[in-house]
């Protein structure tokens, strides 16, 4: 059996005594896109934050590409996270937002430009490189956020309700585009959402958060 892209074993999270996640286990194969479905407040975002290392788990383990993530800080995990409200840096333009992680990885300027150009082409925004992110529409911002996370080729891409702020039609056409872009990048991805249709359009496999607790999947 090959090493899975992501393996979560028995993760439990409590805040001030109340349990947010109980004994959650999940396995995502390399190159696979999995969607986790759950109503709001069910702890979906917390699951992603545990994987990214932004929230410590009370117990359980997270392995990415076979490596144990316990004790590794967020910035050394190689995990990409597309935030619910995108969280594009307001002081940087579109291209500089996408290039942010590349700069930190000390990619040379020439390679950086090429990579940013390729990503902007991939999301269909080649003409918007120098735009102020405050002027982007919801759909554009979501695509830029995706490109920013893909730029550093993370070992796993996490998406937290990436399309929640968009209106109905745009949402489902963009869902298919997301799927295309993630597959084109060859990335392993875990998506959380409350919308079954969105989950189906993006993911290869859809599971319910409640099915992940104690034993199943």
């Amino acid at each position: 059996m090959t090493t899975p892209g992501l393996e979560i074993c028995g993760v439990t999270v409590s805040f001030n005594g109340s349990r947010v996640l109980t004994d959650v286990s999940l396995r995502v194969e390399r190159g696979e896109i999995v969607a986790v479905l759950g109503p709001s407040g069910s702890g979906k975002s917390t699951l992603l934050r545990v994987i990214a290392g932004l929230v410590p788990a009370s117990s359980g383990s997270v392995h990415v590409d076979g490596n144990d993530m316990s004790g590794i800080p967020t910035h050394r995990r190689g995990v990409g996270l597309v935030f619910q409200n995108n969280q594009l840096f307001p002081h940087l333009d579109v291209a500089d937002n996408v290039a942010y992680g590349l700069r930190i990885a000390r990619i040379t300027a020439g390679q950086r430009r090429a990579r940013v150009a390729a990503l902007l082409a991939l999301i269909g925004m080649s003409d918007h490189a120098t735009r102020d992110v405050a002027t982007l529409s919801g759909g554009e911002a979501a695509r830029v956020a995706l490109a920013r996370s893909l730029a550093t080729t993370p070992r796993i891409l996490l998406l937290d309700e990436p399309l929640s702020g968009l209106d109905h039609d745009l949402r489902y056409s963009l869902a298919q585009e997301l799927r295309r872009v993630i597959h084109a990048a060859g990335s392993t991805a875990l998506l959380v959402t409350h919308d079954p249709l969105e989950a189906e359009r993006i993911a290869d496999r859809v599971v319910r958060l409640t099915e992940l607790s104690s034993g199943t999947s």
């Binding site: 990214a52 967020t74 910035h75 990409g80 935030f83 969280q87 307001p90 992680g101 996370s149």
Partner: protein, 524 residues
Amino acid sequence: MTAADAHGPYGRVARRLVIVPGVFVALFTVWPAFATLRRGFDITAAITETGLRNTVLFTVWQATVSAALTLIVGLPVTWIVSRHEFVGRRIVRALTLVPFVLPTLVVGLAFRAVLPADLRSGVLPLVVAHVFLNVAVVVRVVGARWESQPRSFDEAAATLGAGAITRFRTVTLPMLRGSIAGAAGLVFMYCFTTYGAARVLAGPSRPVTETEIYRFAVLAGDMRAASALAVTQVVIVGAVLALTARGASHTSVPQRPLALRTAAPLRRFGVAIGAVLITVAFVLPIIGLVSRSIRVGDGFSPAAWRHAFGGAGALDVVSSLTASLTTAAAAATLSIMIGSLIAFAQVHAASRAAHGVATACEVIPVVVSAVVVGLGFLLAFRTSPFDWRGQWWLLPVSHAVVALPLVSRTVVASMRQIPADLRSAASTLGASPLRVLASIDASLLRRPIGAATALAALVSLGEFGASSLLSRRGNETLTMAVGRLLGRPGDVVQAQAFVAAVVLAALCLALVTVVDLATTLGQR
């Protein structure tokens, strides 16, 4: 949206009412400034005459050093009190704001009380006092932005591979840049126009512009030199504020509250140490102030206090207290009335001209420091029909002018925050414009207007710059009493200066506490 909609229901009234602050600012700021300019328009004197030039250069230099050091000290302090939740955080944060609430003269005295004898006057104590006074500005201005910066930007950077230091450098700092520039500009201005602290700490060999304006105008009677310095100062302050204010309004960040929580053990340790250091540094001078008031010679004695309240000796606390309170009440009332009208016209006026007048009323008083106000009054109101030198109300009016920028800025900011849709909603429910004003604006503004009034009273209580140029016999306020007593010999007299300073400090703190309690209770 049409132009009429944009101005809402008050456009016309606001346009007419702007006349009131317009006349006030013209008479009590522009005209005195003009009277000063007429004598001091030859500011080349400040460049060519060595004495004046050295004063200006030294003042710029010490203000630059003070502002830089204030940022270096203030940013870590801000980080501690605005990004972390810990037991006593509110108290530590309040402590950092205390010096700003106290009159600068009192803070100067506090430093004189705690510093060793050979360090009591000169550049070093002045700069240290400036840092102490202005850390509050950094905590307030930068802290407001830092607190509202969503943690998720930091988290986004972390998922992209940025470590703690890189995150601070590439995300936090650029997003704070505007507020840091704004704070730096304000601190520079406060240090550049320093007066109370400089009178006590700078010493006769290192005069700054404000103390020199006072010396030339009051002690030497050289109005030409005083005016030249005043005009130079106004020009420099105006230039610095124009530059940094532009930076302050540059980046816009979505506001969202942030749950503060301490994290890694190392960081928790650093924050704890920092909090203790802040507490010690900010409590010590106040203890020094109080202890100095009960020290006579080598021993401790309540003599100064007994004399002060008995009305015997050089200080009559009760009558000075009365004078301070009446002046503050009059100045605060006047300032809030004028300031609110400025804000009302600024936010609502329907015509461009009215809007322009309001903006001028908001901006012009900013560049005029307290001593310059005093000098302007002295020069403008000495000939009939404007010979008002003997009038009791001239002092509170000067205080109102000094407080006006703070007041109008506070009210404008809160008035802008009221969504226009609230008014529209009230109108569609049948409320007349007057009713809208009473039921929406007035009730939403009650608290900020209360706070701004208290701010004006605070400025008046500690006002020393304009006062020392306009002082008359009788009706001496506490601040003026401190200034007078300091210049006189004798152990008990010196201790009495500290008695007056302690009473003044207590008064200011009591005022702030009452307002703070009223606001917190009002929020429930």
